[in-house]
Symmetry: C2
DNA sequence: GGTCATCTCTTACACCTTGTCAAAGTTATC
DNA sequence: GATAACTTTGACAAGGTGTAAGAGATGACC
């Protein structure tokens, strides 16, 4: 229902649309308040052509976020989330997310802002949220995680913490390794996982 | 250095300034993209008067956030954060934050967006962040929290989780009690606190 | 290869918002 | 009550978004 090609569109139209989305992601990443004019120029088209593909600025932003979401779920689905311990799967999921997010650090900050209507927010985030939820549920069944906190809360909290980690490393307050480790440890603790996270044992 | 009255301003000027900040908080809470015209009208002044007090839209937004920050730190400082167990102090701190945030649910979403320059972000958030940090440090000294995660990360993560809880209850995905409980439990777990949080024992 | 629908470009316009300015009016303060 | 401070009114420029129509170019399809 999501990836329906609507109708056979002309090749140059598809090309323009892709160029606009590319340029929008690139430009907005560097300058979150860039005008449509700037984006159009970066895409090599005129502003009216942008309007021909995306009726309003908001729709364009939504399409950009949608594309990033698709990239993210693709990376997550490549991580074989149903295999192995849920703890490990969750870490693979977080790494997949980070892998996409690191390419658009500037958009990460604004991404939660752009989501205006609850409906659109739901439609977009639900695909990522569903995968997080699935892994958490599996971990609960296997006893790796406890089930004292509402699943909806945990999904929202994991997303927020992931964003926090992205910001910390994007602003160089932490290295990406530090942020990764802190995120993993924090999330696992929040889920009530037994032992501790990844590669950080060495106490004295 | 922050609350210096600059110079004796005329009474009506102070009144206007306060009315503008009030109206801005109120209007932006309901409609985050409201124009200066709308805000000015709600404050009972003209748009030019707004400009006389705040040179740009951004400065006004910053002043609004600053005011909310002041309210928040006031509420936190009234919570006697240096007394009793750090765990309890942290919960009082979170409740103080929620107490302010619940009055401006609409602003909560946008608040992280408005903070543009890293400098201003730091200046504003540092006052709240300092208090969180202080409590966490105390809890570490008393052994209530462990110290495996960087303090800076923990502060950022606590803020993010608090925002998540605010959003969950603002959008009615959770009741405020559920959100409160989930937030407390999550934060304490993340900090490596021994037992579990507040008033949620009742298993079956 | 030619035709036709489709897409893009140019030009043009209306509207809204922000920011600035100057002059006249009002208000508080000494 | 005189004066400085503040507000108001009116007016303007600049920039961004959204819309429209027609000419031109391009690709799809037969």
């Amino acid at each position: 229902m999501t990836a329906v090609p609507a109708r056979n569109r002309r090749a140059d139209a598809r090309r323009s649309r892709a160029a606009i989305l590319d340029a929008a992601a690139r430009v907005l990443n560097a300058e979150p308040d860039a005008s449509l004019e700037t984006i159009a120029a970066a895409a090599g088209v005129t502003r009216q052509t942008v309007h021909a593909h995306f009726p309003s600025r908001e729709k364009l932003l939504l399409a950009v976020v949608g594309r990033l979401t698709e990239e993210t779920i693709a990376a997550m689905d490549a991580a074989d989330l149903d295999a192995g311990p849920a703890k490990d799967a969750l870490i693979r999921l977080l790494d997949a997310g980070e892998q996409v997010a690191r390419r658009y650090p500037g958009l990460l900050q604004k991404i939660s802002t752009l989501l205006l209507s609850p409906q659109e927010d739901h439609d977009l985030h639900t695909s990522v949220g569903d995968r997080i939820e699935r892994v958490i549920r599996r971990g609960r069944r296997t006893g790796e995680f406890d089930d004292r906190l509402p699943i909806g809360w945990l999904v929202a909290a994991v997303v927020k913490l992931a964003h926090a980690a992205g910001e910390e490393s994007a602003t160089a307050r932490m290295t990406s390794e530090e942020a990764r480790d802190a995120l993993h440890t924090s999330v696992l603790r929040m889920l009530g996982a037994a032992a501790d996270a990844g590669r950080s044992p060495g106490p004295r």
